[in-house]
Subunit: 149 residues, 2 copies
């Protein structure tokens, strides 16, 4: 899975139009302030062990959220982060499981999968406000956040 | 080169802190409305033929801008789009050359390379408002913009 985590003043979205893979949802729009926005692209390799990928990405999000002292997390499917995407069904399942595992400890907003969405985001811009990570079923790749700007 | 092009209501940035690779600049902040924001990560492969990469990415930007009827283009270095980055010097050169080739036909704002930056962006959310492309020295990869949301 490819992830891009952005420490945000706010993230706002509005679902505009369905694609063929659109998830049924009532949450056609949403907003969160002072949050960690996690853009996520589930990949083909994740299909071999989705449970392990979910566990690793949840650990990564928790570690980052604690580090940044944020309690609000936005999970935002973002296929543009990868050029070898997993199947939509596996992706939806993984995203829902991540939401479920975070829910007890964080306020979680998950934007709907498979919709064209308008969004607004404000990135805080401190050295740890943008973190890109490749997360797999094995162990977590080293964070690629040093000196990336 | 990895690119992500977002048709934006606005893009605003503010350079906050230098990294070792920071470019000297007076443009510590900037804003554009109704623009095509082009996030770009120059990659190692681009170093073999930077001129050809510049030409291909300029063609791609022009095609997209004409399609979206925008005259304003923001060039935004974004290393998080790739996990095999080119050298900072090659990247800066390529980004400056892209700016130079677009300048005669577009209002171009290029945010500085090698700074931690705060930014705000508003994505319009129509089906062509987010386009991810791998651009190389050869020919342009097919656009990966279908059904990606
Ligand atoms: Mg105008």
């Amino acid at each position: 899975m490819k992830t891009l985590m952005i420490h945000s003043d706010y993230l706002e979205y509005e679902a505009k139009q369905k694609t063929k893979m659109a998830e049924e949802t009532e949450k056609l729009s949403g907003k969160m302030d002072e949050c960690l926005t996690v853009f996520m692209a589930v990949e083909r390799d994740d299909e071999s062990d989705p449970k392990a990928v979910v566990k690793n990405v949840v650990d990564e999000i928790k570690k980052t959220a604690e580090n940044l002292k944020v309690e609000n997390v936005v999970l935002y499917p973002y296929a543009h982060l990868s050029s070898n995407l997993g199947s939509p069904d596996v992706a939806k399942k993984i995203l829902k499981d991540v939401e479920e595992l975070l829910a007890p400890n964080y306020n979680v907003l998950r934007s709907p999968f498979g919709w064209y969405k308008a969004f607004k985001i404000s990135c805080k811009g401190h050295p740890l406000s943008e973190l890109s990570r490749q997360i797999s079923a094995e162990r977590n790749e080293e964070a690629e956040d040093k000196e990336k700007s």
